[in-house]
C-alpha cells in the first residue's frame, strides 16, 4: 500500500495552494469591490469559499487519481501468487505509475529478463570453474531458452494482446528455473538456489499479471 505519510503530505500541499492564492488575491479583490460597491463582504466570502471549495474538490479528485493508480497495482498484485514480489517489482519501476495491465505485464517481463540474465551470468561464471558440470550446462541451456525464446515471445504477445502466447512464455520460464534447480537436488547448498527461486517467483507473478488481461 502507498504510505499514508506521502499521501497526507501531498494532499495537504494541494489543499493549501488555492487557499494561499486566495489569501494573496484578497487585497486586490477587496480593492476591486470597493471600487464597485455593495455586498463586498459577502462577495469576498463567496470568493474565499469558492477557492476552498475548489481546493477540496481538487483534493478529492487527486485522491481518486492516486487511489486508482495505486489500486491498479494493488489489485493486480493481489491476484498473483506472490503479492510482495509483485509490488516491489512494479513499484521499483517508475513506469508502473502510469501503466495499464499491459504495461505492468511488460514491466514484469523486464524483471524476468533482468533476473534471468543475472542468473545466466552466474552460471557462466560457475562453468568457468567446473566446465563439465552437467547440471550447470543444462541450466545454461534452460536460461538460454528463457532469454532467447520465452522472453521475446512474451514481449511480442503482450504487445499484440495475445494472452495465450504470453502465458506460454512466462509459464515456461517458471519451469526452466525449477528445472535448473532440480539439477542440484540433493546437493547441500549451491549458489544458484536463490537466483532460481527469484526467477521462478517473478515469472509466476508475470504469468499471473498476464492472466488478468481483459
Amino acid at each position: 500500500m502507498f504510505s499514508l505519510k506521502t499521501y497526507g503530505l501531498e494532499s495537504l500541499r494541494l489543499i493549501s495552494l488555492p487557499c494561499l492564492y486566495a489569501e494573496r488575491f484578497i487585497p486586490q479583490i477587496v480593492l476591486h469591490i470597493i471600487k464597485h460597491p455593495p455586498n463586498y463582504q459577502s462577495f469576498v466570502l463567496k470568493m474565499k469559499n469558492l477557492m476552498c471549495l475548489a481546493a477540496v474538490l481538487i483534493f478529492f479528485i487527486q485522491t481518486a487519481i492516486l487511489r486508482t493508480e495505486a489500486n491498479i497495482i494493488a489489485q493486480t498484485c493481489q491476484k498473483t501468487p506472490n503479492p510482495p514480489v509483485c509490488l516491489s517489482s512494479l513499484k521499483s519501476d517508475p513506469r508502473s505509475a502510469q501503466a495499464d495491465i499491459y504495461g505492468l505485464a511488460i514491466i514484469m517481463v523486464d524483471v524476468v529478463k533482468a533476473k534471468s540474465t543475472t542468473t545466466l551470468n552466474q552460471i557462466n561464471q560457475l562453468l568457468k570453474q567446473s566446465p563439465r558440470d552437467k547440471g550447470l550446462i543444462d541450466c545454461a541451456d534452460r536460461y538460454n531458452a528463457v532469454l532467447k525464446g520465452d522472453v521475446p515471445e512474451a514481449y511480442e504477445a503482450i504487445n499484440v494482446r495475445r494472452r495465450m502466447f504470453a502465458l506460454d512464455g512466462m509459464n515456461d520460464a517458471v519451469n526452466e528455473a525449477n528445472g535448473c534447480e532440480r539439477n542440484f537436488a540433493g546437493r547441500s547448498s549451491h549458489p544458484l538456489t536463490k537466483l532460481n527461486k527469484d526467477v521462478a517467483d517473478v515469472a509466476s507473478v508475470a504469468a499471473a499479471v498476464i492472466n488478468q488481461f481483459g
Binding site: I137, N144, N175
Partner: protein, 695 residues
Amino acid sequence: MADTRPLLLSDPDALPTAYTPLPGGSSSPEIRRIHVKEVLAMFAGVVMVSLLVVIIGNTGQDGNVYHRHNRRDKPMLLAASPTKETATKAEKAEKLQAVTRGMAAGVSEKSSRLYSSDVGAGTPVYPWNNSMLSWQRTAFHFQPEKNWMNDPNGPLFYKGWYHFFYQYNPKGAVWGNIVWGHAVSRDLIHWLHLPLAMVADQWYDINGVWTGSATILPNDQIVMLYTGSTNESVQVQCLAYPADHKDPLLTKWVKYSGNPVLVPPPGTGVKDFRDPTTAWYTTDGKWRITIGSKVNKTGISLVYDTKDFITYEQLDGVLHAVPGTGMWECIDFYPVSKTSDKGLDTSQNGADVKHVMKASLDDDRNDYYALGSYNEKTGKWVPDNQKIDVGIGIRYDYGKFYASKTFYDQNKQRRVLWGWIGESDSENADVKKGWASLQGIPRTVLFDQKTGSNLLQWPVEEIEKLRLNKKNFDKVQVKAGSVVPLDVGTATQLDIVVEFELDQKVVESAAESNEEFSCQTSGGAAKRGALGPFGLLVLADDSLSERTPVYFYVVKGSGGTVNTYFCADQTRSSVATDVVKQVSGSYVPVLKGETLSLRILVDHSIIESFAQGGRTTITTRVYPTQAIYGAARLFLFNNATDTSFTASLQIWQMNSAFIRPFSPDAASHASFTPVTVFIKFIVPFGIFLTLYFVR
C-alpha cells in the same frame, strides 16, 4: 547431380559394330537381318545402362534431400556423452528383458503430477540428448522443416491439389513473427513445402498475419479472408487472393489494395476480433461470414454479409453466444448431413441438415463443438441441447488439439478437419531440437447417425496408403492384472485397429458403484477398478519404465447402466521431468451390441487415438527417453481386478510420408518431364528388346 540425358547413338563411329563388309559382295537379306538384330540389342543394352544411371542419379538426389531434411538444424548436444549412456541403457534393457517377458503382475500405483519432480535416488537427470530429440520428429504428420507452427489456415482443394496454410514463425521455435506457411499435396498425406504465402509487409498486418479461411466462389475464384494485427495492434480483417489463378500451386498471393476490409465494430474490443470463417451463400444472394469475439466473459460470434468480400454489413446481434466461455477464437460453422455419408458444401442447408458451431476457447485452450439448427432468416443458430452448448459440452479431442478448422473437400465430397497439435515439453527442448508443433492427421467429419448427438472423426482414408507389413492378432485373451507383449517389430510408426470384448458375465454381475469417474482425476492406468482400465501400452520399453496407456475404463453406474470412459495416460510416458504428465480423456457413448473399438496412430512423439469409430478422440504428445527407436514396444494390458478381455488386433507398420520441399520431379503423375518420359516409355521398351534378343 545425374546427367538426365539418355545416352543416344548419335555417333556411329563411337561404338563398334559387328558389320564388316564382305569383299566385293552386296549384303544379302540374311546379313541385313543380323545387322538389325544386333543394333537393336545394343540399343536396348545402352538404354538399360542409361536407365541405371538415371535411376541412381535420381535416388542420390532424393536421398540428399532426406538427409538434408534430417540433419538441418541439428539440436545442441547435451553434456551427457551419448555412447556411454546408450551403452548402459542397452545393458539395462537386456537385463530386464529376461525378467519381464510374459505375464507381469500388472502395473504398480504411483502418484502422477504435472511436471513431476521425483527424480529417484537423488540423482538428477539430464535426459535430452541428440538421439532422443531427433527421434521426436514425426514420419507422417505435417510439420515444416523447422521452427514454430500453430493454427491451420485456409485449407482448400483446387485444380488437383490440396492446399494447406499455417501460422509459422520463420525465425524460431516459439510463437512470434507470424506469417503464412504453405504446402500442397495430392492426397492430404504426402505434403510438399512451398514458399511462404503471405508475410507481414503491410501496416495492417505488420504485427501478425493471423488466422483466416478460404472461400471458393462458384466460378472457381478463391477468396482468402484473414486477420491482420496492425501497427497499433488492432485486429482487422483483410482480403487476399491468388496472384495467378492459372497456377495450380497458388504460389503467389496478392493482398487487396483497399485492406483492411473490416475493422472492429463499435462495442467490440480492438483485440477481440479475429479468425474469419469460410463464407456461406445465403438465399438473399449474399455471402455470410462469422468472426469470433467476446463481451466481458461471454463468447460471441459476430456476423457479416457481403457481396464482393470488400464491403460488409454487420447483422444485428450475433450468430450465437454462450456466457462464461470467454473469447471465441477460430470459429468454425458448417453443415453436416443427418442421413448421408458425404460431407456438405458450407452453403448447404435444409431439413436434412444440422449445423455444427465450433469455437476454440482462449481461456482453456480446448476446441468445443455443438450440434444445432441454423435459421438463415433470423441469422441465428440454436443448439440441440443447451446443456452441452458451445464451450461447455463436447470437445473435438480430449488431448492436445486447438485452433481446428474444417473445409469442404469437393474432390471427394467430404468435410475434412485440421487441428493444431502443440508441444507438451519445455521450450528448452523445442529450442534445442529446432522445431515445435504438428498438425493432426486430417480427419473426415460426419454426423453420428446412431447416437444423433455427436460427430464422428476418422483419419482420412489416404493414410492407409502408408500401411505396410500387416500383423493380425486374433482373440488374444488377457486376464485381469496382466500385460501381453505384441510382437510388431519397430513400434514407433504404427496403425493399430483393435476390438475388445469383455467377459459379459463379469460385467453383468459387477457391483454398482457411485463412482464419479473422470480420466483427468482418476490417477491414470495404475488405478485399478473392477472393469478397467484395460487397453494398450504404447511407446513402452521392455521394462515398462516408460509407457503410454491408451485405454477404456468401464464403470457400472447406479441402475445397472454401464458407462465407458476412454483415456490416455501420460504420467509414466517418460522419465524426463519437464514434460506434461496428465491423464486425458472422456466418456464415450457405447451403444447396445457394440464391441469396444480403438484405432491408434503412433508416430514418434504423437499418439492419436479414436474410440468407437471416432466418437471420442484423444491426441497425446509424449517424449520417451528409453522407449524410442528399436527399444519401443507395444503391449496389451489389463489392469482391471475382475474382468478379463479378448482382443483382436490388426497392426500395420507405417511408412514415412516423405514430407519435403516441393521440386518439379516430386510433382508425381502430373508432370511429364523428359526424365519421367524416358523412364516410363523408352526404358520398358529397351528392357523388352534386350530380353528378347539376349533370351
